[in-house]
Symmetry: C2
Subunit: 691 residues, 2 copies
């Protein structure tokens, strides 16, 4: 290992975690390199050590007020801009490093990096994607940070249904301007980050009208505030959405227009334009396709959210597992020594599947990010358009289930870790509250999880119609995420013969079962739709009637199958050591087995599982937990953020849980509360009372 890495991957100090660390079956530093890569490790180290030295990034003993949080986040975002951890020139060769930067900063403070990304990068991408040469100057101004912007799509009364947006932009040929108008509060643009208190400019989606004709939703880049005074421009009303359940550093805003005029050139005119003479022109004949092309630039968001959720889950399992290795409770009756709670099967069963999920998601998000970057490169080089269209559709299908699954895994994992840390997990210094609050947004923005899942199922159903006609679907799944559908016929005829626990220690067995579940759910969904349509139900209604037990579990099973498939790439890599392979195999099997249990109804209804198959699977899960116990701490060490970024008294790498708690509480030991007189002054009441 070279010197730079040696400096980063330092041995841990001796302490309460030493025993587990000594007993690990593998070298955590090797695992760290395998799962994260040298470049990312060096970059993360640089980021965390820089922020740790900067007082603007210091942790606060108690939660600042909303106002303080907003100001602090602005200052941090400005500092981050100045640090410039990933200069544009470095990004070209290694675009995936942008993810690394976002995750590393986010593990310390999501609000700051989200604010910064939204203020500049997100809008710059949007202008590149939807604008033309005439917007290049605005891109330059954003890059020089002369202006900051926000992205306004959602309205108060409409989120997912973009077609129902009601803000209008009407072309006035006399003045060569668009007139923006908001009919009522329900049509107000909202949720845009930085709109509330910061942005001077905005990408705004509005329904475009020329001479009374509706051309559908279009994007514009407009100024909304005075650059020098930050006052709203006349005709623009902007409000702040107020406190949220998390991410409170980001100022989400609401905006209404009152006959507000912007120049004709504000229209982001790549997919549709209005000429000086007021004529609407578009290369797209079909409105739906034109809007799709505009919104396509948003899919990057979902790819990013899967990584954000993964970063959150890593923090949670780090806290949950390190604390469980230190915390002792009960022990054998003939002994005075209490056992670390990590020794208990129930604690392992609660935590280890999420440790597995963290690893599986790390591998998935890394490989999926690379698919996404390849697609972007291919788009620039204008490769085979048919293949590109297939890749685009598949990436959409994958991101539409990967974002829900990863954000839910993080949500549930954080909650389980919180509970697994008992009372001390409920202290703010556990660090788990902030992770839960911030992660929760991942379940909703960029497409509500449950609504998004439908997209993946739609794509699969399209493939299924080909399968039914005995056509190969290979060219429609260039990334291979559904390639096994080509064998659906034989898969659906197969029956599971694995009735001993040891069979289920093999990820391949789980993958086989998962592929059966997907095929079965896909066939059932198609059949159910046919059945409902045969009852003269319209497609809209039929689809809605088939969500809970068809579309939804189908998309989930497809996504989880893909997670396993991607993890197999590491397991089958001849270059990794047997130590690493062995532990990763167990971790993958545990993740697969615990999640497969949720598809029991599909597996039994489809005839794949016999009545006792699940018993073998359960025993395998017990065995995998036991097997992973000595490795859990080292597995966490290999992916944990720095102690500074983790910021948890329970999850600190030195394992000195009680010292950190003592330090935290000692500061309050010296004084009575400011309001002590109010306690003392209370006069005894005459009546005795129970309430």
């Amino acid at each position: 290992m070279d010197a730079e890495l040696k400096e980063i991957l330092k041995d841990f100090p001796a302490g309460p975690l030493s025993d587990y660390r000594k007993n690990a079956s593998f070298n955590w530093k090797d695992m760290c390199l395998l799962m994260q890569g040298k470049d990312a490790l060096i970059l993360k180290h640089k980021i965390w050590s820089t922020l740790e030295k900067d007082p603007a990034f210091a942790h606060h003993a108690t939660k600042p007020t909303l106002k303080e949080t907003r100001l602090l986040t602005l200052q941090r975002a400005q500092k981050l801009a100045a640090y410039n951890f990933m200069p544009a020139k470095n990004l070209l060769g290694k675009p995936e490093m942008l993810d690394t930067v976002v995750m590393a900063i986010g593990q310390h403070d999501w609000s700051a990096i989200v604010k910064l990304q939204l203020l500049y990068n997100f809008v710059i991408s949007a202008l590149y994607g939807m604008g033309t040469e005439r917007h290049f100057q605005e891109i330059q101004r954003l890059m020089r940070r002369e202006i900051g912007a926000c992205f306004c799509l959602t309205e108060i009364g409409h989120g997912t249904n973009t077609k129902a947006m009601r803000t209008t932009a009407t072309f006035d040929i006399k003045t060569q301007e668009f007139v923006f108008h908001t009919p009522d509060f329900q049509a107000a643009k909202c949720w845009a980050g930085n709109l509330g208190e910061t942005a001077t400019h905005a990408v705004v989606f509005a329904t475009l009208f020329t001479s009374g004709e509706n051309h559908g939703l279009h994007a514009f880049f407009i100024q909304i505030r005075d650059i020098n005074t930050l006052e709203n421009l006349p005709g623009v009303s902007i409000g702040d959405m107020g406190e949220k359940l998390g991410l409170n550093g980001v100022d989400n805003g609401v905006m209404l227009f009152d006959q507000f005029r912007v120049p004709r050139t504000a229209l982001l005119n790549r997919t549709g334009d209005v000429s000086e003479s007021g004529v609407y022109v578009s290369p797209f004949k079909d409105k739906k396709k034109r809007l799709g092309a505009s919104l396509g630039t948003l899919s990057a968001g979902r790819v990013g959210i899967a990584s954000m959720a993964t970063a959150n889950l890593i923090k949670a399992v780090t806290v949950g597992i390190r604390y469980s290795a230190v915390r002792r409770q009960f022990g054998p009756e003939d002994s005075n020594v209490e056992l670390p709670v990590l020794e208990y099967q129930l604690q392992q069963w609660r935590l280890f599947p999420y440790l597995g999920a963290a690893y599986v998601l790390m591998q998935f998000t890394r490989s999926f990010r690379s698919d996404f970057i390849n697609m972007q490169r291919a788009m620039m080089s204008k490769e085979d358009p048919d293949r590109l269209a297939s890749v685009g559709a598949e990436i959409h299908a994958i991101s539409s289930c990967a974002k829900p699954l990863s954000s839910w895994l993080a949500q549930q994992g954080v909650q389980e870790c919180r509970e697994a840390c008992g009372g001390h997990g409920y202290l703010a210094v556990s660090g788990l509250g902030q992770v839960r609050e911030d992660n929760d947004a991942n379940c909703t923005y960029e497409g509500d999880n449950n609504v998004l899942l439908q997209q993946s199922a739609n794509w699969l159903l399209n493939l299924w119609s080909l399968v039914q006609r005995r056509q190969s679907i290979a060219s429609y799944t260039p990334l291979g995420s559904a390639i096994y559908l080509d064998s659906a016929e034989s898969i659906l005829k197969s029956k599971c013969k694995l009735d001993a626990p040891h069979h289920w220690l093999e990820p391949q067995a789980l993958l086989d079962a998962y592929q059966f579940a997907v095929c079965h759910l896909l066939r059932s969904t198609a059949n159910r739709m046919q059945q409902l349509m045969d009852q003269k139900m319209d497609a809209f209604t039929a689809k809605n009637q088939a969500q809970a037990y068809y579309y939804r579990p189908l998309s989930i099973a497809y996504g989880e199958t893909l997670f396993l498939m991607r993890m197999m790439r590491i397991l089958n890599d001849p270059n990794i050591s047997e130590q690493l392979r062995a532990v990763l195999k167990s971790l993958t099997a545990l993740f697969g087995a615990t999640n497969l249990m949720k598809h029991l109804s599909a597996l039994t209804q489809g005839g794949y599982f016999q009545s006792n198959t699940s018993a073998a699977l359960q025993t395998a899960i017990e065995q995998l937990c036991e097997k992973l116990k000595p490795d859990a701490v080292a597995l966490v060490d290999a992916v944990a953020p720095s102690d500074f970024a983790l910021n948890s008294a329970l999850g600190h790498s030195d394992g000195q849980v009680y010292r950190h708690l003592e330090k935290h509480m000692a500061s309050s030991m010296k004084s009575r509360p400011d309001w002590w007189q109010q306690v003392v002054a209370q006069q005894p009441l005459k009546n005795t009372s129970h309430l």
Copy 2:
């Protein structure tokens, strides 16, 4: 309906919820009376309307700081004491009304009522339970509120394992005092509410020593702060535990003793005493039993937590369902009208099982509270001690699963409702954040959920040994919660023949399946334990190895079965109207069916379910959702707290979601942020940068 009730149960104003209300199959006012009772309705109305008029209970636009929250909570607790909503004289005849008061205040602000209860009532009960005549004076002082106290059991390093507590109280015969000492920070008493900044006195559990002999854990009532200055007494160090994930109005503290002396009479000496001559005497020979008798006074806490969780779940489903009835998204392709999201199967499937849970838990907690009160009465009148012991053991078994199940249902229900409200659910004004944060504590205190569950299984396993010896267990389950175990043999031989969805619309079918699941899991658990012990495993280890797939699901199934059994009491009540019975039947079936799906592995492994049974069950769930759709809003109306207590822009009973949101955001529309110059002042940077 009498005039007083008419005044309380007012018709709702016309608005976005009117259509659903008109289409309900039953009268919500009748349901309201059935589920809550006249007395409780009147009392709740009095509480909410009183608090609404009192500025001290006004809602805050943004979250106060920790310091502000603490002071506000103190003031509110003092006000509540003065309001005296349930005078002692009224409590005698209707002790169950105390629950009503706590729940009604808690639906507005948990911290305030928890603080008040802990400061006086909880400690008064403890003194009654564990003290003797000589502590009567202290009870009087507490009742007069001359002093306020806290309850110190948990230590920093030990929660559940009470036997491992390390704070000591050593009797000094010379001065007739106990000397309290804390060896190190891990032995510090902690988590006690009001200890941090308020209490002058404390019930403290410590290991009692006389002349070097250890007599185990005992409770003492001691003074810890000066009554006039609120300064710590010399020898006592008290700290504040700091910010938590919720319930931040309550000042949880940490306390260390340094050779701190208290009079001999501080010992709460009902179950053990030290004479002036330094001799330890106890009516209990067995230390374990003595401690059990002391800690027994705590079981009321778990009964109360089940009600608290229910109150939280009611708030969440009120918000989730009312908002879903107002919020519109998409619609049939040939129509311009968008549908309320409540029309979608997926939304129903996500929300209605929690609506069912709210009703089932309301009925359960009410009936269980009445069991508990009956037990307390029987204890006072010293009825048949054998029966009392059986009742006590059964109540312990029930509370040990009811508290986990109800707190988890609330936790999961709040999360589902939050997500089901989309982005707006993430706004603080949704009200869901506060409920989630406060409810989370219910999963942990008074016994961690997962640890507690083991207690119910232990009790069932004891019964099982009788069943195996073909003895009737009837006298061991005087409340009937496990009475069906007497038929275990025939239950275990039965096979489910219900393969059509309509079969599963009947709660009785679900109850049968549930009882099979309990019997099967009980037999499997006993067999598994035997198997492990046959492998020479000690009992401690064997039990730990049988948690995830035996003890845990067994306790859960037993608890859920009991919930259904209690709900059947209403369904079988000949006095209720057919309208109410019909909708409650569907609600109960939906609750039972969705939760039964989690026990699929037990039902298939046990041979009760055939491979396709779960398909019928799933279709039944779809049908029940559809059936309940027109009634969902009215079902919520019948249990919702007042709009003031609910405090949710999304869940207000007028359904004017967008008006409430507008009002909330309008206040921020007038001004730029204080720190606007910091946005403007930022100089453009020389380098373009992507981060």
